[in-house]
């Protein structure tokens, strides 16, 4: 097999990775940020303390974070089949990717929100704000640079998860590296995919850092 044939396939694998990571990032942010907010505001002494909710959410998040991703991949297969109809392919991989990344992001969001000074919250409550106003106009905007950094870390983790997911038929660059590089002893292909992944991660990190820095006015 020569590079004329490998090229388009590599491009397709890259596209698959971008698709998996892109969609699962979107879903992870949609689920992980609210979960992180809930974790933060239900903590003891926080905006809306609720020990029971806090403990249950904390337990779920820890459970998700302590499972090795490769195990999670297998465990959620029935769920994936239920949602997507199959466990093979890029679209199916989005389910375990999202489930794996949500707890990760939720913790990062919690850490970011906790950094927002208590005084800012108090000042806003003193203005007669509702608790949801505090979340909307203080916690999230004030933590935004840090949240963007957290999402960047999550995207990079998703790139690596997606490569792992490739191992069980998820497609993408990981799958490509294993099928052509590893199983056919083509070290040059392995190296090419690694370089591609490295470039991708670098680009994502660079863009995330830049964005976070632009948002940080302090």
């Amino acid at each position: 097999m020569n590079w004329d044939r490998i090229g388009p396939q590599l491009a397709e694998a890259t596209w698959e990775t971008l698709y998996m990571v892109g969609v699962s990032t979107l879903l992870t942010v949609l689920i992980g940020v609210p979960l992180g907010v809930l974790l933060t505001i239900t903590a003891p002494g926080a905006l809306s303390p609720s020990p029971a909710v806090h403990r249950i959410l904390g337990l779920l998040v820890n459970l998700g974070r302590s499972l090795p991703f490769i195990i999670l991949l297998v465990l959620v297969a029935p769920v994936t089949r239920g949602i997507v109809g199959t466990t093979i392919g890029s679209t199916a991989t989005i389910v375990p990717l999202t489930i794996g990344a949500v707890p990760f992001l939720a913790r990062l969001v919690e850490t970011s929100l906790r950094e927002v000074g208590h005084g800012k919250v108090e000042a806003t409550l003193a203005m007669g704000a509702r608790r949801r106003d505090v979340v909307r106009t203080v916690l999230l905007p004030e933590a935004l640079p840090s949240l963007v950094a957290g999402v960047t870390v999550t995207v990079v983790a998703l790139v690596s998860y997606s490569a792992m997911a490739g191992a069980i038929g998820g497609g993408g660059l990981g799958d490509f590296a294993i099928r052509y590089g590893y199983q056919q002893f083509r070290t040059d292909i392995t190296v090419a995919t690694v370089v591609l992944l490295l470039v991708l991660v670098q680009l994502l990190q660079w863009a995330g850092d830049r964005w976070a820095r632009r948002l940080a006015h302090a």
Partner: protein, 363 residues
């Protein structure tokens, strides 16, 4: 305007820490348009008291009323609306870094649901009022401490409150900025007819702006009243802080303490003792300050050569309106050591966010 009746705030015991009675049966009344101070040593419950006025802390018992409205009778929604009539300014400004100066002032107006055009107009008006008409687009990080506090004051006044709470509002500022902010507060009080409750551990601040003050110690009011009255009251604990009596220790002879006011100047006392009685009078110590816009002072005189007429002369001076008395060591409460209030942010454990209803007292 502000009425606290027998207010108590107890923070329950938690995590091995004992129960804390932060405010212990405080009754306090601040009249419409009054500039009132709350002073006390670190950990005396001053900041908790401020937070009880707008129910950032709900009192364990007692009644809080502002502008005739009993806040402690309101439900959460009512309290929220009532808070708009009470502006609050903090030691560490608490401005949002994600917003410009104008954005910060606009924040309470947004929360009150005021339309965009009206918000813009009001923000411009408020920033002009605090002397920052040219800093609309500045971020908090680009402003000095004094400027940040001015933005915070503009923000606190945005919803046209009748009451302004200042919690150590000048404690993080240098002396020049402090003077500027105090001037502004005094000017705003006059222009807007505000009622101000100012929490501070700095006596200079009270002397500069307050009409009245209460002294808080371990959650209780131990002294208080209009400053002009407090300062002429003998052995007042608050007066001892506001205008420390010259130390008696080390002085010799018969010691006479003279309190100076505009209506009881020192000339008459000196004339009587040195002139009429022919005694040797030395000034052993003293200080004169302007308090509530009036001159107040305390002198410690060392009198020698008394042939028995001193007490009678003092009696006569007292009858004539002079504030004189014999001084003996230990008859005046010592002023507490003025110290920087520990920053509220630093004593908080990072893993334990406390937004509401949490102990806010240092022991």
């Amino acid at each position: 305007m502000i009425e606290l009746s027998d207010v108590r705030k107890v923070f329950p015991a938690r995590r091995g820490a004992a129960e804390v009675v932060a405010v212990d049966g405080v009754s306090l009344s601040v009249a419409d348009g009054e500039f009132a101070g709350v002073v006390g040593p670190s950990g005396s419950g001053k900041s908790t008291l401020a937070r009880l006025v707008n129910l950032l802390e709900r009192p364990t018992s007692g009644r809080v009323a502002v502008d005739g409205q009993v806040l402690t009778d309101l439900d959460a929604d009512g309290v929220r609306r009532a808070r708009r009539t009470v502006g609050m300014v903090f030691q560490h400004f608490n401005l949002l870094d994600s917003r410009t100066a104008a954005g910060n002032v606009e924040h309470p107006l947004e929360l009150a649901g005021i339309g965009r055009a009206e918000r813009r107009r009001r923000v411009a008006e408020l920033l002009d009022l605090v002397g920052l008409g040219d800093r609309h687009a500045s971020r908090p990080a680009q402003l000095s401490g004094g400027q940040k506090q001015r933005v915070a004051i503009a923000r606190a006044l945005a919803a046209r409150p009748k009451v302004l709470l200042c919690d150590e509002a000048t404690s993080a500022l240098d002396p020049t900025s402090t003077a500027g902010v105090l001037d502004l507060l005094r000017q705003l009080r006059t222009e807007l007819g505000l009622t101000v409750l100012l929490i501070t551990h700095e006596m200079a601040v009270v002397r500069a702006v307050c009409d009245s003050a209460v002294l808080l110690d371990r959650g209780r009011v131990v002294d208080g009243g209009p400053l002009t009255e407090v300062l002429t009251r003998p052995h007042s604990a608050l007066a001892a802080q506001l205008l420390p009596a010259p130390p008696v220790a080390g002085a010799t002879g018969n010691l006479v303490r003279v309190t100076l006011t505009e209506s009881a100047p020192e000339g008459r006392v000196l004339r009587t003792l040195a002139g009429d009685l022919g005694l040797d009078v030395e000034v052993a110590g003293g200080s004169v300050e302007t308090v509530a816009g009036r001159r107040f002072g305390r002198l410690l005189l060392s009198v020698t050569g008394d042939d028995g007429r001193l007490d009678a002369a003092l009696e006569q001076l007292r009858a004539g309106g002079s504030l004189v008395e014999r001084a003996t060591p230990g008859d005046e409460p010592p002023p507490w050591q003025e110290q920087e209030e520990p920053a509220p942010e630093s004593d908080r454990e990072p893993d334990e966010p406390r937004f509401l209803d949490a102990p806010d007292v240092q022991r």
